[in-house]
């Protein structure tokens, strides 16, 4: 009798059992296995993996080797596969992954903030000196009816202290429009990180520029504080999210431009998940911002209350990012 045939005879039943377990898990999840079978699974997997090593060195039966390779790979994916569902993974991401990703990208966040601040300063100085630039800088869809021709009274009554449009209109339509508009910009800021980071910084700067232009427009009409109150209420969350998207893009850009001791691909794989986590978390923040902006902004009718609310959201985000550190030895990024 052949050595390889003997070898197969002795182990075939274990392979068949493993094959059966793996097929059942593939069909309907781990729940298809009893506790006893679940305990056997890793043992059978290891035994079969060593069978594969032996078969490769002693057998010339092609079907046998291909079968074992296939079986070990399938069992490997089952044994080391994720057993979490969406809610669990999402909860873990919100509790650990997202705050950890934010704390891990502080330099990038600083750079993204600097880009926005530079944009705000440039926009403010430009428009304060000459309002003719306003229409060139701010796209029509964003400015609405606001512009160099607007008077202080118009700005105050139609916008800053406009009446609340009602539940459905504000929470559903407007909030959703804002969310999609902002998340498009945010995701683009992140995605352009692939192009080396410069487009990300430019896009961030441009958003700052628009904000600066609005600030100057209201400053020239003596409405600066009211406008700041009006925009802080959601702007803290929104700008924060935009900065995080930009920071995610900058992380990607850094790993591509300066790979360090790993190859670019390996480096991207190591850090990319955290960077994508930044962007994904930021999109969730934008969702919150959209609801605040669409719904609550016009409900709170005076400037001090708005400033307080905006300040409070800022503090809440900071607390959220700093105090979700998780236990020792947890995996980073969800």
């Amino acid at each position: 009798m052949l050595r390889s045939a003997e070898f197969r005879k002795g182990r075939e039943s274990a392979w068949r059992t493993l094959d059966d377990f793996v097929s059942r898990v593939e069909k309907g999840g781990v729940r298809n296995l009893s506790a006893d079978e679940l305990q056997q699974l890793p043992l059978l997997y290891r035994a079969t993996a060593s069978s594969l090593s032996v078969a490769r060195s002693i057998a010339l039966d092609r079907n046998l080797i291909l079968y074992l390779e296939n079986l070990v790979l399938r069992a490997f994916l089952v044994v080391y596969g994720s057993r979490k569902g969406v809610p669990e993974a999402l909860g873990r991401f919100l509790r650990r992954g997202f705050p950890a990703a934010v704390r891990g990208a502080l330099p990038h966040i600083a750079l993204a903030t600097a880009a926005i601040v530079a944009g705000v300063a440039a926009g403010f100085l430009l428009i304060e000196a000459s309002e003719a630039w306003f229409n060139a800088l701010v796209p029509e869809s964003m400015s609405g009816s606001r512009g160099p021709a607007s008077t202080a009274a118009q700005l105050r009554d139609r916008e800053i202290f406009a009446p609340w449009p009602g539940f459905v209109e504000s929470f559903v339509v407007f909030a959703n429009f804002l969310f999609r508009h902002n998340s498009t910009i945010g995701i683009m800021t992140f995605g352009l990180g692939i192009a080396g980071g410069v487009p990300t910084l430019l896009l961030l700067g441009y958003q700052g520029l628009i904000l600066g232009a609005f600030l100057a427009l209201h400053y020239n009409r003596g409405l600066l504080l009211d406008f700041v109150g009006w925009i802080t209420i959601h702007g803290v969350t929104e700008l924060g999210a935009l900065i995080l998207c930009g920071a995610g893009g900058l992380v990607i850009a850094e790993k591509i431009l300066f790979p360090g001791r790993y190859t670019r691909l390996d480096n991207l794989a190591k850090q990319g998940t955290a960077a994508a986590g930044l962007a994904a978390g930021a999109v969730l923040m934008l969702f919150v911002a959209g609801i605040i902006e669409g719904g609550f902004r016009q409900l709170i009718g005076n400037t001090p209350a708005r400033l307080t609310f905006g300040f409070a959201t800022g503090v809440l985000w900071l607390v959220y990012f700093c105090y979700n550190r998780g236990g020792a030895g947890d995996e980073s990024a969800a």
């Binding site: 075939e12 490769r56 993974a89 339509v173 995701i187 990607i252 991207l268 794989a269 990319g272 994508a276």
Partner: protein, 301 residues
């Protein structure tokens, strides 16, 4: 190690795939077949179809339940939001719970794995699927909702969206592992993993035919595995004819002088397979692996 099987796989299966080794935490090297672009596109289209169907269904349910109570703008925003949630949760849910496959991937036998052989973490799954938004859906949505493709500024804008889609979708064509941008970021790759069956053992003890050592030295592993494939074919007239021909060629090559085997070619071939495999496996154990009949490097001088 398994480059030994590459030639025979190519010869018998007719496709060459890019392969990539992953090392499991136990230290076992596993060879994986990288999925083709065509397979990945097929899987994506199937999933895309499911998503569209689910969205339409949702839309119908929604229209039946609540159409009188709200305006068109409200309904369409809610649909947009649900479609967005549905498509992301669909991919993330299935890749999380079914070992890196979605219904579409399952039909085409594809799996998502970690490129370095580690466990596939939820973070990686979320990252690779959210990136799909940036890659395809976001620019596609912007491109399709452009009011009109006019000349001038808006033409260039829509052209840039379109260019982005083309550029990003072309990425899998330009790397060996057919990675898309989401795979790059998440450190994953997609492999093809059709299920294989363990077929019956072909080795049979018999005493009718006896072969000498020099006769068995005529062939190597490649020919042995071709013979294995021929013996495993489902029986038919055509198979019988092929087996008769092969039987004749083997007899000529090894200088068979015993009784004429052409009457029961299958028995002769099985006997020869058993003897040849026993011989080659013994030689391999002594460090004399013989890849094919032309391989003289390891034969006895």
């Amino acid at each position: 190690m398994n480059q030994r099987l590459d030639r025979i796989n190519h010869f018998l299966d007719g496709v060459t795939r890019n392969r990539r080794e992953i090392v499991t935490p136990e230290g076992v090297v596993l060879e994986t077949d990288v999925a083709n672009n065509g397979e990945r596109l097929t899987a994506f289209l199937i999933d895309f179809l499911f998503w569209i169907l689910a969205t339409i269904l949702l839309y119908l349910v929604f229209a039946l339940l609540a159409v009188e109570h709200m305006s068109g703008a409200v309904a369409s925003t809610i649909i947009f939001l649900f479609a967005f949630l549905l498509r992301n949760l669909y991919f993330i849910h299935f890749e999380l719970t079914t070992q890196g496959s979605t219904p579409g991937k399952r039909i085409v036998n594809l799996r998502v794995i970690d490129r370095n052989g580690g466990p596939l973490l939820p973070g990686a799954i979320i990252a690779r699927n959210l990136t799909r938004e940036v890659e395809i859906f976001l620019p596609l949505g912007l491109f399709l909702t452009m009011p009109k493709i006019a000349a001038g500024w808006s033409f260039w804008l829509s052209a840039s969206y379109f260019g982005w889609i083309v550029l990003i979708s072309a990425l899998p064509f330009f790397n060996r592992d057919h990675l898309r941008a989401g795979d790059l970021i998440a450190g994953t790759m997609v492999i093809s993993m059709p299920r294989r069956k363990l077929l019956a053992e072909l080795v049979e003890a018999q005493a009718k035919y006896v072969f000498t050592r020099s006769q068995l030295d005529a062939y190597g592993a490649f020919e042995l595995q071709v013979l294995e494939e021929v013996l495993r074919r489902p029986p038919s007239e055509e198979t019988k004819e092929i087996q008769r021909q092969i039987c004749g060629r083997i007899c000529r090559k090894i200088g068979w002088t015993g009784s004429d085997p052409s009457g029961d070619a299958l028995d002769f071939l099985k006997a020869f397979y058993t003897a040849e495999r026993a011989h080659l496996e013994r030689e391999q154990l002594f460090g004399r692996y013989r890849s094919d009949k032309a391989d003289q490097s390891s034969g006895r001088k």
